[in-house]
C-alpha cells in the first residue's frame, strides 16, 4: 500500500528553521513505522535522522510524535496509521536533528531522584528477603525503559522544562515502594519541592503515551499521597 509520510525536519547545521518533507512510500500493512523510516533513509533520503536500536519496543530509542501522539516508531504498524502519517520529534526536548532530541536533561532529572537502592544495613550473605506481595507493590515502575515518551507528552513540561517529569517520578516510585529500600524519605523530600510532583496536574497524557503500559499517573498520585500523608504504606 502507498503511504504519504510527512516528517518534520531540522538540521541546525544547515537550516534556519524547521520544515516539512513529504515522502511517498510503498509499504506492507504489517511494516512498522520504523521500517518505513528505514526505507526512506536507505533508499530515498540518507540525511533523514532518527534513533533506533532494538526494533521491538524494549530499548526506548525511538520515541517520537506520530500523528500527534508520542509513540515508539517500532511499535506502530503502518496499517494503523492511515494513508497519511505525520512524524515529528517529541515536544518538550531540544531538537538535535530531525527526529533526534536531546535527552541529557531528561537523564539529569532521572538522576536527581536517586533512582537506585539505598540501604543502611549491612548486606546478608545471600539474598535479602522480600515477599511476592512486597515485590508486586512496585512492579509497574520496573517496566520503564526510559524512552521519555511520557515526559515529552506532558503539557506541564512544554511550559516548564525544569519540571522533574513523569518518568523520574515513575522511577522514584519504583524505589520508594521497594521494601528493601531505605531512601524513601530522601526521595519524597526531593519530589516535594517546587519542580517535584506538584507540577503534575493530572493531565494523563503520560499514561496514554507510555509504550510499556505503565499507569504513570497512578504512580505519580501514589507518590503525592505518600508525601501528603508522610507515609508510604497507605499511599
Amino acid at each position: 500500500m502507498k503511504v504519504e509520510v510527512r516528517i518534520k525536519r531540522y538540521d541546525p547545521e544547515r537550516d534556519q528553521k524547521p520544515y516539512w518533507s513529504t515522502f511517498e512510500v510503498d509499504v506492507e500493512p504489517i511494516d512498522r513505522l520504523l521500517d518505513t523510516l528505514n526505507k526512506i533513509k536507505w533508499t530515498m533520503d540518507g540525511t533523514l535522522t532518527y534513533r533506533r536500536s532494538c526494533a521491538h519496543g524494549i530499548c526506548g530509542s525511538d520515541a517520537m510524535r506520530i500523528n500527534g501522539r508520542n509513540r515508539l516508531a517500532c511499535k506502530v504498524l503502518m496499517r494503523d496509521v492511515g494513508s497519511r502519517v505525520t512524524v515529528e520529534p517529541m515536544l518538550g526536548y531540544p531538537v538535535i536533528k530531525d527526529l533526534v532530541v536531546d535527552m541529557d536533561q531528561f537523564f539529569e532529572k532521572y538522576k536527581s531522584v536517586k533512582p537506585y537502592l539505598i540501604t543502611y544495613d549491612t548486606e546478608p550473605g545471600t539474598e535479602r528477603l522480600q515477599s511476592p506481595e512486597e515485590r508486586e507493590r512496585f512492579d509497574e515502575g520496573t517496566k520503564c525503559i526510559l524512552c521519555g515518551a511520557c515526559t515529552g507528552s506532558c503539557p506541564s513540561i512544554w511550559g516548564n522544562p525544569d519540571w522533574v517529569g513523569p518518568a523520574s517520578i515513575v522511577n522514584a516510585h519504583r524505589f520508594i515502594f521497594d521494601s528493601r529500600d531505605q531512601g524513601a524519605a530522601e526521595r519524597l523530600s526531593i519530589l516535594g519541592r517546587k519542580d517535584g510532583v506538584w507540577r503534575c496536574r493530572t493531565i494523563f497524557n503520560c499514561t496514554d503515551a507510555c509504550p510499556r503500559g505503565i499507569p504513570v499517573t497512578d504512580l505519580i498520585e501514589q507518590v503525592k499521597r505518600a508525601i501528603v500523608f508522610n507515609d508510604t504504606k497507605n499511599a
Partner: protein, 583 residues
C-alpha cells in the same frame, strides 16, 4: 580532544557496567554509542542461571556439566567451572544492588526451568533460572545503570569507538567519534575493556538490535588480534517470521509445540524424549529440515514458504495471558496474528555469537594458541570468547557470562591499574580514525551502504545459516570479497558533522563485513558438525581432528585470513569427558 582515565570501558551493556562497578576508586570512562539503557542486554527475557537451589536441590557442578555438554564439548572446562561456581555470588550481588527478582513464597529469589539445564548430570530438568518477570535482561541493565549513577561513573553517551590504540604491545586507549558533533576524541588509559556485544545484524533475520554490528570484534581484528570460534553462531529456533523478533524459549517450556505446513507436530519425530525442548541448535536444524523437505508453510497470505508454526493454542487463554504476554504482544503487533486462535509463523533467527575476542578467565585478551595476553586489553560479554559456550550456548547462560566475567575483568583491571603506569600513546593516534571518517565523507563512488548491507545479510542468511556446506560458503566468501570492494566506493548523502547517522551506519557496516569474513572462514575450514555449526558435507562431530578452537587473523582482504587452532581445555574428571550429545 584528549582525555585520560585509568580505565576506559567500551560498551554499557550488562558486561561493561558490571565491570565498571568493580572500580570504585579508579577514574573510569564508559563509552557507548547508544544511551546506556538502550544497550541490547535490555532485550534478554528468560533469566540468569545460577545454582542457588532455592526451589529444589541444585549444585554448581551440575550447572557446569550442562554448560559443557550444551556447548558440544567445545567449552573450556576451567572457564565453565568459574561460570557455574561464581554465578551464585554474582546473582546475590545483583540482588544486593537492587535487582527486583521474582520471589518464592518464603521471600527468596524465584527460579524456573529452562532448556538444557538439568539435575544430577542430565537426569531431568532443574529450576535454575533466576528471573524478573519476562524482562530479566532489562532489569539487569537498569540495575547496573542505577548503580553506575550511584557511584557517579563518567559516561560518554553516543560516542562511537573507532579504533583501539596499542603501543609497544600494550593497549593504551581508544579513539572515538562523538556522534553529536562528529568530533574525534582520544581516550588515553591504562586499561581498556571491550564490552560491545554481538553482531547478529550480519543476518537478514535476527533477534539482535540495529546496534549489534560487531564493532568491538572488528576493531580488535583490524589491530591484529584474532577472533575465536566465529563459525559458532547460534540461531534461535523461534524468531518471529520475517521480523526475527524473539519468541522466548518459555513458550515451549510452557508446552508450546512446533507445527509444520502439513499440520504435524514434527519435533516428536526427531527427538522423541525432549521433543520441542531439545537444545536450540537441534531444534533449529529440525525446522530447516522440514522446510527443505517441503513441509514448510506455503502461501497463507503472508509471504514465502520458508517457515513453520509455533502453536500455543492448546495452552488456553489464561496461561498465554499470564505466562507468555510478550509472545502474544509480538505476534499481534508485528504479524497481526492472534496466538489464541492461530499458530504463529516462526523461523530460526540469528541470535548469539558464541565466538569473539579470545580471553582468559580474568577477561584478559589473549593473542594466540599459547594464551599470550595483551597487557591492558580486556573483553567481556558477547564480544568476548572465554569459551564457556563452546559450540552452542544454553539459554540464560549469556547473562551469567556478562555478570561473572564482567565482574572478573573489572576486578582484574583494578589490580592492573595499581601495578602499571600509563604507556605513551602511539604517534598520530587519531590518524586511522580520521582517515576512515574522511574517506567515507568524501567518497564519490556512488555505492549505497544499504545495498551492501542487505546483500551481505541475504548472503549470510542463505549460505551461512543453520546448515552450511563448502560450496555455499565459498560463494559467500566471494560475495564478501566483492562487498568489501564495494564498501570502499560507498558514497553518503549526508556530509554533515551533526548527528550523522548515515556516516555511523556506514562505519558499522565496515565492522560487520569483517566479522562476517571471519565467520565464513572459520566455517569453511571446520570440516565437522558440532553444536551450531552444522555442515551438510561433514554431518558428524569429529573430536579426533576438531576438538579445538579456531583463531582467525585478518589478512589484507577477504580471501586471505590466517587460521590457527587452540586446544580446548579439558579437566581431569570422567564426567566431563567428551561424549555423544544426547537429550
Amino acid at each position: 580532544m584528549y582525555q585520560k582515565f585509568d580505565v576506559v570501558i567500551v560498551g554499557a551493556g550488562g558486561s561493561g557496567l558490571m565491570a565498571a562497578m568493580q572500580l570504585p576508586n579508579a577514574s573510569v570512562a564508559v563509552l557507548t554509542k547508544v544511551y546506556p539503557t538502550r544497550s541490547h542486554t535490555g532485550a534478554a527475557q528468560g533469566g540468569v542461571a545460577a545454582a542457588l537451589g532455592n526451589k529444589e536441590e541444585d549444585h554448581w557442578k551440575w550447572h557446569m556439566y550442562d554448560t559443557v555438554k550444551g556447548g558440544d564439548y567445545l567449552v573450556d572446562q576451567t572457564a565453565a567451572e568459574v561460570l557455574a561456581r561464581e554465578a551464585i555470588d554474582a546473582v546475590y550481588e545483583l540482588e544486593h544492588r537492587g535487582l527486583p527478582f521474582n520471589r518464592t513464597k518464603d521471600g527468596r529469589i524465584d527460579q524456573r526451568r529452562f532448556g538444557g539445564h538439568t539435575r544430577n548430570f542430565g537426569e531431568g530438568p532443574v529450576m535454575r533460572s533466576c528471573y524478573a518477570a519476562d524482562r530479566t535482561g532489562h532489569m539487569i541493565l537498569q540495575t547496573m545503570y542505577q548503580n553506575a549513577i550511584k557511584n557517579q561513573v563518567r559516561f560518554f553517551n553516543e560516542y562511537l569507538v573507532l579504533d583501539l590504540l596499542i603501543n609497544d604491545g600494550r593497549a593504551c586507549g581508544v579513539v572515538a567519534m562523538e556522534i553529536r558533533s562528529g568530533e574525534i576524541h582520544t581516550f588515553h588509559a591504562k586499561a581498556v575493556l571491550f564490552a560491545t556485544g554481538g553482531y547478529g545484524r550480519a543476518w537478514r533475520v535476527t533477534s539482535n538490535a540495529f546496534a549489534c554490528m560487531g564493532d568491538g570484534m572488528a576493531i580488535a581484528y583490524r589491530r591484529g588480534i584474532p577472533l575465536q570460534d566465529m563459525e559458532m553462531y547460534q540461531f534461535h529456533p523461534t524468531g518471529l517470521y520475517k521480523v526475527g523478533v524473539l519468541l522466548s524459549e518459555a513458550a515451549r517450556g510452557e508446552g508450546g509445540k512446533l507445527l509444520n505446513g502439513k499440520g504435524e507436530y514434527f519435533m516428536e519425530r526427531y527427538m522423541p524424549t525432549m521433543k520441542d525442548l531439545a537444545p536450540r541448535d537441534i531444534v533449529s536444524r529440525c525446522i530447516i529440515q522440514e522446510i527443505k523437505e517441503g513441509r514448510g508453510v506455503k502461501g497463507n497470505g503472508i509471504v514465502g514458504d520458508d517457515y513453520v508454526y509455533l502453536d500455543v493454542r492448546h495452552l488456553g487463554a489464561k496461561t498465554i495471558a499470564e505466562k507468555l504476554p510478550d509472545i502474544t504482544d509480538f505476534a499481534r503487533n508485528y504479524l497481526g496474528v492472534e496466538p489464541l486462535t492461530e499458530p504463529v509463523p516462526i523461523q530460526p533467527t540469528a541470535h548469539y555469537a558464541m565466538g569473539g575476542i579470545p580471553t582468559d578467565i580474568d577477561g584478559r585478551v589473549v593473542l594466540d594458541a599459547d594464551w599470550t595476553p595483551m597487557p591492558g586489553f580486556y573483553a567481556a560479554g558477547e564480544v568476548a570468547c572465554v569459551s564457556v559456550h563452546g559450540a552452542n550456548r544454553l539459554g540464560t547462560n549469556s547473562l551469567v557470562d556478562l555478570i561473572v566475567f564482567g565482574r572478573r575483568a573489572g576486578k582484574h583491571m583494578a589490580k592492573f591499574i595499581q601495578e602499571n603506569d600509563f604507556v605513551p600513546l602511539p604517534s598520530e593516534p587519531e590518524g586511522f580514525s580520521r582517515e576512515l571518517v574522511s574517506r567515507l565523507l568524501t567518497s564519490t563512488g556512488g555505492e549505497s551502504a544499504a545495498n551492501v548491507r542487505s546483500t551481505l545479510q541475504n548472503e549470510m542468511n542463505d549460505k551461512v545459516y543453520v546448515e552450511r556446506e563448502e560450496k555455499g560458503l565459498r560463494t559467500a566468501l566471494d560475495t564478501i570479497d566483492g562487498l568489501q570492494d564495494a564498501y570502499r566506493r560507498i558514497q553518503l548523502q549526508d556530509k554533515g558533522k551533526n548527528f550523522n547517522t548515515e556516516l555511523m551506519e556506514a562505519i558499522e557496516l565496515g565492522f560487520l563485513l569483517d566479522c562476517a569474513e571471519a565467520t565464513v572462514h572459520g566455517a569453511l575450514a571446520r570440516q565437522e558438525s558440532r553444536g551450531a555449526h552444522f555442515r551438510l558435507d561433514y554431518p558428524k562431530r569429529d573430536d579426533a581432528n576438531w576438538l579445538k578452537h579456531t583463531l582467525a587473523y585478518r589478512g589484507s582482504k577477504a580471501h586471505d585470513v590466517r587460521l590457527e587452532y587452540k586446544d580446548v581445555i579439558l579437566i581431569d574428571d570422567p564426567i566431563f569427558k567428551p561424549k555423544e550429545r544426547k537429550y
